[in-house]
């Protein structure tokens, strides 16, 4: 059985090539790595990274948790964190937090579609989609807001020197939000990019 992101159909329609990535069918490229990467560097790009591991952590033990190696911790509320990690590290990270006291962990990898909007124009695009002040969001900071009329968690996770925003929305809205992002980005030259360009630009994986 293969794992498919909510955009599998949409990516196939646009002629993406797929690759197996930790059991996920992920778009590896849409046009060519060079073209996609240069779009990101010059203007902006968006990638479907729904395969990223995500854990919802609640409970008294959350504030004192040291995130396991290879994971990134995001503060969502009082005693409420989100942990992200690469798909390959998912099980190791889960095992490591499950042993921590007073933490209730729920695997929400499947619950959120994740889109990475990267590039010098990324803030201009997000400005059209959300009232969150993305300019005030420093690297590794996060916020929650309405984005394209649905609830979103916005994680700022720069790719090298390029500003990058990881947008998490409920999986069932994936296609709707993806289309809104592409529409908002049209005037800035936004194009989708695949796993290969992501890695070339410094995406861990």
């Amino acid at each position: 059985m293969t794992r498919r992101t909510a955009l599998f159909h949409s990516h196939s329609q646009t002629g993406a090539q797929f690759v197996d990535y930790n059991g996920w069918q992920m778009p590896v490229r849409f046009t060519s790595v060079r073209e996609e990467a240069s779009h990101v560097v010059d203007a902006a790009g968006v990638a479907d990274l729904s395969c990223i591991g995500k854990f919802d952590l609640k409970g008294r033990g959350v504030p004192s948790l040291n995130p396991p190696a290879g994971s990134q911790s995001w503060l969502l509320g009082r005693s409420h964190n989100l942990l992200t990690c690469l798909p390959a590290d998912r099980e190791r990270v889960l095992a490591s937090i499950e042993s921590a006291p007073d933490i209730y962990t729920t695997d929400v990898t499947s619950a959120y579609a994740g889109f990475l909007v990267v590039g010098p124009r990324s803030r201009d695009i997000l400005r059209k989609l959300t009232s969150l002040n993305v300019s005030a969001l420093s690297n590794l900071a996060c916020g929650q807001a309405s984005l394209a009329h649905v609830h979103a968690i916005v994680l700022r996770e720069d790719l090298g020197a390029l500003p990058a925003f990881h947008l998490l929305v409920s999986r069932y809205y994936a296609e709707s939000v993806w289309e809104s992002i592409l529409h908002a980005g049209r005037e800035f030259g936004l194009e989708p990019f695949g796993l290969e360009a992501w890695q070339e630009l410094g995406g861990r994986g």
């Binding site: 059985m1 649905v150 069932y172 809205y173 709707s176 809104s180 005037e187």
Partner: protein
């Protein structure tokens, strides 16, 4: 003016119009000789350019299908299609201008006075609807794109005149983030149309443009200041692909530097084309290089009258007289100004230049909660109290407004001395309103509609206050102003609505359904298959019946991913569920499932669902599709303050869910879940297990909404397409069919299963719905217990009953139930049941007729039909098939 560029051409009412670089639509039309720009709202009087600054209603046109566009604020663009509005057949010959001869029929407040009789209203309505309103709505299906943008700043400076530029520069030096907003394509404010050097301003603009912490928004209208320092800013044509952009600007401070604008003076026929404000004349001369007329009478005193006279002479206009407003008796002319008459002479002219009162443009101050006070020396209402985050600078604050000028000339009687140009309200109309008792400015406004038109009081507020204070014997200060409200200037509904993002929710198997021929049903934001149109069935009922038979006779598969799914963890999870749901859950054994409803404090059913206990400290809740958010919030709400260790996580988007049901369901599932014994002895009805299905980790719930042996299978959404197809493949040898919402509704109706929110309403208790077993009244306190105890032993006034039709007809959902000729209830759901060969359904009926076997009448689309109350489920009343 005078920028390099070449002439362009656009279209007005079918003819070509040449425009110079820097021209607006209005200036190009004026240059081409047009003097009548619009016809007035009520009397269809000719109107020409008056303010040339986007403040008055006189130049509204239709541009490319968009009505009420201010032509003086719209740069001319090659190929644009401009049309006049509110005149037929043309601006020059407007049949409805005859209306002004019947003005005696339409006194102020004439709707209320004349159309008092319903018959008269019905007779007049079609005509009024045809002529009322201003402009035609844009065509439906218009391709115009509207954008929204969200920005944040430290200081928003509104107005790019000298005061605003200086304020922006001062604030920028403090290293703050500045947003400077101006309504013109070019910064500079009134200096743009004043002759002479403005080198220092050019320098300030250059400095601001070079600063990285300054954002300049040109041709942008600040139309409203809302709660939380949210400023609404509208940008027409922000880029080639968008018609309008609405900017939500959050700011820490607001600097109002909007300046002052000139307003008219009231005298008879003061609305004739050719009567123009002095600042408009200066804009024509200095912004557009247009000679505004041949012979001008200047009406005003002092420096302003002298200055504009000099400007006119330099532009080649003969200034035939400079008059005090007090000496003007009337303007003469029919379709255009011909002369100005004083007490002793008539002065021929084609232009009357009014040096009118100057009004600070401070609507935003009022919106922000600031107070205004009358300042007699400048003849204006000025900001007197400001909220902490608002500053007003420059002419908007009254600096350099100059001496007071009266809005009302000495001769101002008669019915053609217009105060409100938008709605044709004259001095006489206002005086009549005051005489009738509407002598407060706010009630006078509502009664006469003065200040309520497209200009939103900009041109008429001061004169209205003037007439009101004179007629009621109060001072200006005592009379006060009307309330400033956004939006001002007006904003299109499209801009407020924004881009066409309609969030849609798709289940993980969306495209599998599409490939199977799904006919879609919109359920809130969700897309769900209503039924599958396959080659073997021709219309809905046949398709639904095939799906139905597959479930009853073999096996069916339905996508139920839309169900709400909540994970509840923690040692106190059982306590919370006992408190919130009516059923008992703390004693539920791990591996078991229980059904329950959820009630409000009064015992009204709010939702239902199954709750499975996965382990000692973990439960899995399903909710109805539409109530997920509510149930989650409700659970969280009742946790607050308890100190209980319980945590709720929404799993809905992350889990795909299907229901595999039918006599062959076990055979299909066993093929894919070999390691689990699915036999009833080890996996009974209302049990749950976590197990792999085709290698996918899944939660299996043995429950049966449709009344057959079946499993609800929840599994990670990313496996949706593959597992769905694997189940269909495994079921092929058993005759599996996908089934959808319609077949499910029919199947559950035969089982008499209620859908909360469809068969129940906002007043339904479990007792009325025949579900008293679900309320455990012997439990400790729970939400709704008190309400349920109160009604426990009462006969409910009405009951939800099952019924079967005596004939072949299928009543519509909502059809009326009639007993002895009287309305006695309504049908909530009914479908044709292949099992019974007749329609079965659920209905509300008054309790005395709710006994099993009683007959009643149901109103049908044509005629009526007989039905009979049935107590038990129509299908498998003992539930044996569920347990097989």
């Amino acid at each position: 003016m005078g920028e390099p560029g070449s002439k362009i051409e656009f279209n007005f009412d079918g003819g070509a119009v040449q425009a110079e670089p820097g021209d607006t639509v209005a200036s190009a039309l004026y240059r081409a000789g047009r003097r009548i720009f619009t016809r007035s709202f009520k009397y269809h009087r000719p109107r020409g350019l008056l303010c040339l600054s986007g403040k008055c209603p006189n130049c509204l046109v239709n541009v490319d299908g968009q009505p009420n566009v201010r032509s003086c604020m719209t740069p001319a663009r090659a190929g644009m299609q401009v049309r006049h509005q509110n005149a037929y057949p043309s601006l020059e010959r407007d049949f409805l201008s005859a209306v002004q001869h019947f003005d005696w029929l339409m006194p102020v407040g004439w709707y209320y006075k004349t159309l008092t009789n319903p018959k008269m209203w019905h007779a007049a309505e079609p005509f009024i609807r045809k002529v009322a309103g201003l402009g035609d709505p844009p065509p439906t299906g218009s391709e115009r794109e509207y954008e929204h943008e969200y920005r944040h700043t430290d200081v928003a400076v509104i107005g790019g005149g000298p005061a605003g530029l200086q304020a922006a520069l001062d604030a920028a030096r403090d290293n703050q983030q500045i947003t400077l907003i101006d309504d013109q394509p070019e910064l500079g404010g009134h200096l743009l149309y004043r002759p002479g050097s403005n080198a220092s301003v050019k320098d300030t603009i250059a400095q601001l443009e070079a600063l990285p912490n300054v954002l300049i928004l040109r041709r942008s209208y600040s139309f409203g200041l809302y709660e939380g320092n949210l400023l609404g800013v509208l940008q027409p044509e922000p880029h080639a692909k968008a018609a309008e952009r609405l900017i939500h600007l959050r700011t820490r401070r607001v600097v109002v530097a909007t300046g002052a604008y000139e307003t008219p003076v009231v005298f008879p026929n003061n609305d004739l084309p050719g009567v123009m404000l002095s600042t408009a004349v200066q804009r024509l001369i200095y912004r557009h290089g247009i000679k505004p007329g041949k012979q001008a009478v200047v009406i005003g005193t002092g420096d302003r009258a002298q200055d504009v006279s000099t400007d006119l002479r330099q532009a080649g206009v003969e200034v035939v007289a400079i008059l005090l407003a007090e000496s003007v008796v009337k303007a003469e002319g029919a379709e255009a100004l011909r002369a100005i008459r004083t007490a002793d002479r008539t002065i021929a002219c084609d232009l009357a230049v009014i040096c009118g009162p100057r009004v600070p443009d401070i609507g935003l101050v009022g919106q922000a909660g600031g107070a205004l006070a009358w300042d007699a020396s400048s003849g204006a209402f000025l900001p007197s109290q400001l909220p902490a985050h608002v500053t007003v600078v420059g002419e908007a604050a009254g600096v350099g407004l100059g001496p007071a000028v009266s809005s009302i000339a000495a001769f101002n009687g008669g019915k053609r001395s217009f105060v409100c140009l938008c709605s044709d309200v004259s001095v006489n109309d206002l005086a009549a309103g005051i005489a009738e008792g509407f002598d407060q400015i706010e009630t006078l406004k509502r009664y006469t509609t003065s200040t309520m038109g497209p200009c939103q009081g900009k041109m008429c507020q001061l004169a209205s206050i003037g007439v009101c204070s004179r007629e009621s014997g109060r001072t200006f200060g005592e009379t006060g102003t009307t309330t400033a409200r956004p939006p001002n200037p007006s904003v299109t509904l499209g801009a407020l609505a924004g881009p066409r993002h309609h969030p849609v929710r798709q289940t993980p198997m969306h495209y599998e359904h599409e490939a199977l021929g799904a006919v879609w049903l919109d359920m809130g934001e969700w897309k769900r298959p209503r039924y599958y149109a396959t080659p073997t069935c021709s219309e809905e009922r046949a398709c639904v019946e095939q799906e139905y038979r597959a479930v009853r006779e073999a096996v069916g598969l339905i996508d139920v991913s839309t169900l709400g799914k909540l994970d509840v963890k923690g040692p106190d999870a059982g306590k919370l569920l006992d408190k919130v749901y009516t059923n008992r859950f703390s004693d539920l054994k791990p591996g078991r499932v229980r059904y329950s409803v959820l009630c409000d404090e009064a015992g009204i059913m709010l939702d239902d669902g199954t709750i499975s206990r996965l382990s000692a400290g973990q439960y899995f809740i399903t909710t109805t599709t539409g109530n997920l958010d509510f149930v989650q919030q409700w659970l969280e709400w009742w946790t607050v303050g308890t100190g209980w260790d319980v945590h709720i996580t929404n799993l809905t988007p992350g889990l795909a869910a299907v229901n595999l049901a039918g006599p062959k369901a076990r055979d299909v599932l066993q093929k894919l879940a070999g390691q689990v014994d699915l036999a009833s002895a080890s996996f009974p009805y209302m049990a749950c297990r976590q197990a792999d299905v085709a290698g996918v980790p899944a939660l299996l719930l043995r429950i049966g909404f449709v009344g057959e042996t079946g499993w609800e299978i929840h599994f990670p959404a990313e496996y949706g397409p593959d597992l769905w197809n694997a189940l269909l493949e495994a079921g092929r040898e058993f005759g599996i069919r996908p089934f959808a919402v319609e077949a499910q509704r029919l199947l559950r109706l035969e089982k008499r299963h209620v859908i909360v929110g469809v068969d129940t309403d906002a007043l339904t208790s479990p007792f009325e719905a025949g579900m008293s077993w679900v309320a455990k009244l012997d439990k400790d306190d729970f939400i709704g217990k008190a309400g349920l105890l109160r009604t426990e032993n009462q006969q409910p006034p009405q009951k939800l009953i099952g019924f079967i039709m005596n004939g072949p007809a299928v009543p519509a959902d909502g059809a009326a139930v009639v007993v002895e000729g009287k309305l006695a209830g309504r049908v909530t759901s009914a479908r044709h049941s292949p099992l019974n060969g007749a329609a079965v359904g659920l209905a509300w009926i008054v309790s005395e007729h709710a006994a099993a076997g009683q007959e009643f009448e149901i109103r049908l689309d044509t005629g009526s039909g007989r039905a009979r109350v049935v107590d038990e489920p129509f299908y498998d009343p003992a539930g044996a098939r569920l347990r097989m």
